[in-house]
Symmetry: C2
Subunit: 246 residues, 2 copies
């Protein structure tokens, strides 16, 4: 992975930033080297194990964290325990925008996760100086909003089969570009990681885990997806999957 980082002349003080996997694509991409240096001073690296809580409504965020690696899931919960995953975040996106209090929520690591965290006060102070940064954050948030809206269509209007197909399609198509680096294209029929357990998938799709099981089983039987084990799958041909996704 590190091997494909573009070597560039950078201030040696940048240290870890120099090797950062999301240096170009993340929020830091909006910064010059001098600016980056200032941010580095308030940055702190954190790691989380799968399932570990990153923040929640009881435990408000005092930091903004850029995801270096791993997958983060955001879950909202109703009073009686029903829950809905309202977002999956991948590198180079950010966690830590504070949410309101309409519903309780929590943010946790779905896989091993590395964050680059900025203490909120310091970040806001610095970002006021660099307009490009909040512009960048705005773009990122708009993209999140758009995915949220697409997911609303899925939740409100798609059938169970379409929901499952959509999820697999989403993972298959979005996993691809994240695995290539500087133009390297992953082979067509790659294996993709299903980062979630069956009940998490259910919470993402607004179904029960039994229904998820049955739908996955049906897709396997029709050879539209192939599973090795329970969490890795490949897609022989994207087209029929895309058709089913609606």
């Amino acid at each position: 992975m590190l091997a494909c980082k573009t070597p560039k002349l950078e201030a040696p003080e940048l240290g870890r930033c120099f090797a950062c996997l999301i240096r170009e694509r993340g929020i830091c991409g909006a910064l010059s080297e001098q600016q980056l240096l200032k941010f580095k001073h308030i940055a702190r690296h954190r790691t989380y194990r799968p399932g570990e809580r990153i923040l929640s409504s009881e435990n408000a965020a005092d930091f903004l964290g850029a995801i270096n690696s791993g997958v983060v899931k955001v879950t909202k919960i109703l009073a009686d325990g029903r829950q809905q995953i309202v977002g999956l975040l991948f590198p180079p996106n950010c966690v830590g925008h504070t949410y309101g209090k309409t519903n309780a929520y929590f943010v946790e690591a779905a896989t091993p996760v590395e964050l680059c965290c900025f203490e909120r006060g310091g970040f806001d102070r610095l970002s006021a100086e660099y307009p490009g940064l909040s512009r960048h954050l705005l773009d990122q948030t708009l993209k999140e909003l758009e995915s949220a809206q697409d997911w609303m269509v899925l939740l409100g209007r798609k059938t169970a089969e379409e929901k499952v197909a959509s999820l697999l399609l989403m993972l298959a198509t979005r996993a691809a570009p994240s695995h290539d680096c500087n133009g390297y294209k992953a082979p067509r029929v790659a294996e993709f990681e299903l980062h979630l357990k069956r009940d998490e998938i259910a919470d993402f799709l607004g179904l029960t885990y039994e229904t998820v099981c049955r739908q996955i089983a049906a897709l396997k039987k029709r050879d539209i997806v192939r599973f090795s084990g329970t969490r890795r799958f490949s897609v022989p041909d994207l087209e029929p999957l895309a058709t089913l996704a609606g």
Copy 2:
């Protein structure tokens, strides 16, 4: 309405902005009078009738519009015609962030709508000078994202009864503060406007319009809401409604 605008000393050139209903709360709230003047030069007032298309995926937005009055709905559509309302926008929010092309969408007036529109290029050029503006837009977008996520919980996990109750509750609670002005409190048992037709409500809640009808009828029978006509309602007591909303 105009009567409750706080009179303030402002540059006379501001003209329409002087009387703008969302001057304080909208994006212009982030601007000084001098800055506002520059924006006024590229601003254009537009009005739309109920049902009129404001923009869509075929007809990409070349402007950003702050909603002065009225309600705007954003709808996404699947290839086979199923549709889902993914957002209702009220003053002083903005329309015109371009969306991607995952799903076709359109944005239209749900009621008579007034927009204050900024041609995109000019707006971006000016906003680069005023960092407060994209910060403001970011905050607004984060709020939209949060409502979208709350709606995902509703779509994915709530029952038909809870969905309808949630919508009525949302309109009742969010309509209240928008009707008072400078601290004036609306009377406790006010009438609220249901800006949408039954089938639009259905598209908003991920139901069929028959189901919406039945659920509304059930709420009426239990005297949890009272309808006058088909589009106006009052809530004798918010508590039972809130309980049903889940």
